[in-house]
Subunit: 330 residues, 2 copies
């Protein structure tokens, strides 16, 4: 295993030290594994808290900042954050208007966020939640009952974060988060496995001549394998799966996301194919994102996430955002 | 070779199609291989043009936009743009106040930009140039007389771009670009080779237990090899090389840059070490950038680039920028 780390046990803590040093607008409790906005809590503002296993960077800590998350709690690599972390994150950013938990649909995450929400309720903090389950690849999976949560998490965090920033109530923010989930779908394809530092070897074997269709962001098995094919074919497989589940129509927000080890030049090649596909269906890529945003350590591959926009979601997507990994406006 | 492409010959053109589809504020001549700002030429504004081989994305086309480059001309993978491309790019963005060519110090790039500048002069366009040669690893190299140009190119493009945006003259813009070069140093380390699509196999062999110190962004040999070591040691090697050449002092702009295949979590681990090193020398990381910015296809590894800031450079670094890969302010 070749990794730019000091040792497998301290990767998450040391990366958080780096995050803290690089981004003065964040506050980081390295021991407690909580990252929050320096300006939190903001009185009267609904706060957004998310979290999940590490290894998906920049998700989630890279999305903490103005117009997006108020706090994130990163677990160990591919491991849910514990309830105490979530409680601590929630406490730190609660401004009295309630806190929305954005949860990717993995059994451990859902359970630990639920426990945390109960503990927060006991302390008088109003918490609501949204569970993101956008991945159409498989129903139930290694760590999931139902669909997995992947790329749409970024859309939920950005769009609901913008609404919360504008002074909306917890009920309104929760409603919009749910609308983004309902309108979003994802599908991922792996060219290689990832390697978890503590494991020291690839999570799964994938021959040099094959790709895994419908891969999960922890290397969970997908639908099937296919001989390595041109980007056009792979993009078509991903888009057929998405379109078959939620027909492409109207204005779309489309992310072509790298799994961590795929260079940008290849992601743009894939994006060109995805955009062509969308046009052929009579829909339109109105907004887009191309890059490594919801990753799986060093895995090579990509995922596509599509959200059917409406005027409200488009306006919220366009609103200013200032986080380490997503910045525009203002 | 496992890559998310259609075929090795069309990677650059297809990635440019993707770039055009993803970024409506850019104009892209896919055939002619020129990318420029939709609002160019801007009368009376000094224009910045850069370019070089593809395979280093987001450099350079990802840095075209408000406050940075006016145009970029991407060559084939790891191949200099031809003079005609540079001429075309220069023509498209010349607003009458002159054009600055930002050139990485590779023999082919320097030669082709020089030829282009002569052709432009014949057409009455005033062109000045700056050659970036920040890589302290080696003197002369596979494609270079003198030092190679690497990460500092981004700093030059951002800082000189901000000055040009503010209405400075060509002489002023050229002077600041030169100042950034004079104050910047880089050093890179590879964990793995890159694979050029047309070659179909790794550019060089690097055993599972070794790293290459002082790697070039095309996989050119560095200074030596070392057994795979913790991030702290690798960061120290890079920083010793930089500090030995230009002592760290005062406020620094520091980039920890991924080579394309290294995930963000590892880059933050490395950044924590770099920041610690800087502090131990009595200097300060005043501004920073952590991510994949000046890459070498799918190579795993990282480089560090340091620039000694002064008040003017800091102000220009902080100025608004709106490009696909670098966005803040405004």
């Amino acid at each position: 295993m070749k990794k730019l780390i000091n040792n497998a046990e301290s990767v998450v803590a040391e990366a958080l030290e780096g995050l803290a040093a690089a981004h003065p607008a964040l506050r980081v409790d390295v021991e407690g594994r909580v990252v929050w906005r320096a300006d939190a809590p903001r009185t009267g503002k609904v706060a957004l808290v998310s979290g999940g296993g590490s290894g998906h960077e920049p998700l989630h800590a890279g999305f903490v900042g103005h117009g997006m998350l108020d706090a994130a709690c990163p677990g160990e690599i591919f491991t849910s954050p514990v309830p105490d972390q979530v409680v601590e994150a929630t406490r730190r950013v609660d401004g009295g208007a309630g806190v929305l938990h954005v949860i990717k649909n993995y059994t451990g995450d859902v359970m630990n966020f639920e426990m945390a929400a109960e503990l927060c309720a006991d302390e008088g903090v109003t918490v609501s939640s949204v569970v993101v389950d956008d991945d159409v690849a498989v129903q139930d999976s290694l760590y999931t009952a139902g669909r997995r949560g992947t790329g749409a998490t970024l859309f939920v965090e950005k769009i609901a974060g913008a609404l919360a920033e504008s002074g909306a109530t917890l009920a309104e923010t929760t409603r919009v988060a749910g609308a983004v989930v309902a309108r979003s779908r994802s599908f991922g394809i792996a060219l290689t496995s990832c390697t978890v530092p503590a494991a020291g070897k690839p999570t799964f074997d994938l021959p040099e001549t094959e790709v895994e269709l419908g891969i999960g962001i922890h290397g969970e098995p997908g639908r099937s394998r296919l001989p390595l094919a041109p980007a056009r074919e792979l993009a078509t497989v991903a888009m057929d799966a998405i379109h078959g589940d939620l027909p492409l129509a109207g204005d779309l927000l489309v992310m072509v996301n790298g799994m961590g080890g795929t260079p940008l030049i290849e992601l743009y090649v894939a994006f060109a194919e995805v955009e062509r596909y969308v046009r052929a269906k009579g829909a339109r890529v109105a907004r887009s994102l191309v890059g490594n945003y919801v990753t799986s350590l060093d895995m090579q591959g990509f995922s596509v996430t599509v959200c059917r926009l409406d005027a409200e979601l488009t306006r919220l997507w366009d609103a200013p955002v200032q986080t380490p990994a997503l910045r525009w406006g203002r």
